[in-house]
Amino acid sequence: MSETLYDKYGGIETFSAVVSNFYQKVLDSEDLAPYFDNVNMENLMSHQTNFISTALGGPDNYKGQDLKKVHAPYKITVPHFQEVAELLEESLDEAGVEQEDINSIITLVSSLMDQIVSSA
């Protein structure tokens, strides 16, 4: 069995740092920040860390709800989704994840666009 991306980059420690860095970037963005006005960021970051860890072959700790259902009320647009993806890419880059692995992660994330975007 080949090594998972989760293990390759140092497991939970690395990815919780990536997630925290990522949300910092998201909140820095004037366009994206309003989505998170009334969101408990700590909970969200914990969910996101578990989600990414699971997605990258780490332990399955994701106890979140159905993606489509959670994102529907926010009416997320395609450009905003893309910007978020870019910020994630940047966060992974900063954490020292190789471009090839970044690409496969972004591909995985892009495949979730349909469940997340609900506005034109």
């Binding site: 910092q24 970037k25 820095d28 963005s29 910007e83 940047e90 880059d93």
Partner: protein
Amino acid sequence: MYQVHNSSKLSINSTINLLPELLDDLDHALLLCHCKTLKIIEYNKIFANWYTSELTEQSLDGIFDKDVVRRIKNAILKKRKYRFKIERVIGPRKEHIDFNSKLISINEQQNYLLIQGSINSTEAQLTKMIQDHSIIAVRNKKLIEKAIDKAEAANKAKSMFLASMSHELRTPMNGILGMVQQFYKTSLTAQQIDLIETIESSGDQLLAIINQVLDFSKIENNKIELHHSPTDLKELLEDVISLCSASVKSTSSIDIKSNFTEYDYPKILVDDVRLKQVLINLLNNAIKFTKQGCVELKLSRLSSFNQCCQFEFSVIDTGIGIEQEKITELFMPFTQYDSATTRSYGGTGLGLSISQELIKLMGSEIIVASTVGQGSQFSFTLSLPISKQQSTTELTQNSVEEISSLKGKVVLIVDDNNINRKIATLALDATQAKILTAINGLEAIEQFKKHSIDIILMDILMPIMDGYEATEKIRQLETTEQRTLIFALTASASNEVGEQCLAAGMDDIMLKPFKFDTLLSKINQGLTNKLAP
């Protein structure tokens, strides 16, 4: 603000000249560059401190690594803020610096990139700093505690040394002073009397110094306890005057007098021994520093209220006086008016410090008023409760009666020291009492079994059996009608020894060295009390 050159088309700060100074005063670093070329336009002092090299005209590539610059460019393209962290040694420390870059647009043509940096002081960073600090604090606390323990141990050792030295010094002093008193009884020429008086007064002085040092070590260790007893203040003050006058040469031209504002004072409760000690010290000081004129000991009642009287005690002299600024120094231990004082007037420099502490223990303070060349006044006020026991059963015994009352009595002297036994024997030789001796507690018990003994003078520390044990055993041997007077004769001046003596069953304590007359009157008082229970 460090500026590239005047030709650069910068309009941000051209309108406000104050801005450069303001930016320099900020506590974070600022750097401004063109957003297209990334050429540095200007930066503030802090930025210059962090990056010492000349930054003007450089590109961002020169200061940040290529990944950071790449992401900055990307953020510019996306019109986003970009944050990054850098580790850099600044001064003596490695600092974590948080940077963030953002676009500033003046208009379509003028877009700049502003980079701000500040030393990371996040919670984690602060926590680490505090942890480091607390480790140091704990270590320091341990060092301090160690030092305190050491200092306390040293101080304790000093006190024990002083206490045992005072004991060791009192014993030979007992020999000297005892023999001197005995010497007076022999036929002496006028010259011999003069010589022996000098030995006696030197011995008394030495004893006073030993007592002062011991008192001082007791005060330092809070070992002084006050023992209140019904006291006639007028009598006490007259006593003090006669004691102090005795030390003044008859040729002296100073007048020592008492000044009572009332004819009679009620008996009050006070530690008469300590009060006397303070007054003697103050009066002797006044006498020491007064060449002519008078020294007055004054007692006045300030108020009476609720079975309590407030008295003011003053010692007023017409002596050399004290400068205002030297007054506080007077009460510091081992200090005197000036070092020349020690040479010309003698003394340990402990007297006033001890007196002040004793008066403080009584809840007051000695206050000094003085004019150089005119004189000084040392005074203190004491609030003292009126004694319930006002009627005095005066026992005006003269020494003749004291001597005669011992006639035919059997006195046992117990002491391991030959000289001490000799002195006690000599002290009693005019009484016509029958004297027995023993060199330790065990021998004392043997003597007690063989003879009918009236009075025992018991040393405390002896080989084979000490005075406490001997007293306890003797008390067990006594029948109900028969109770022997037992006096401790000891050179140990501590309260504990006194309490232990009484606990062992002794009747009273005499401190060595003692005056023969005092010993006799104590024995006599003991006999009188025994006859009239």
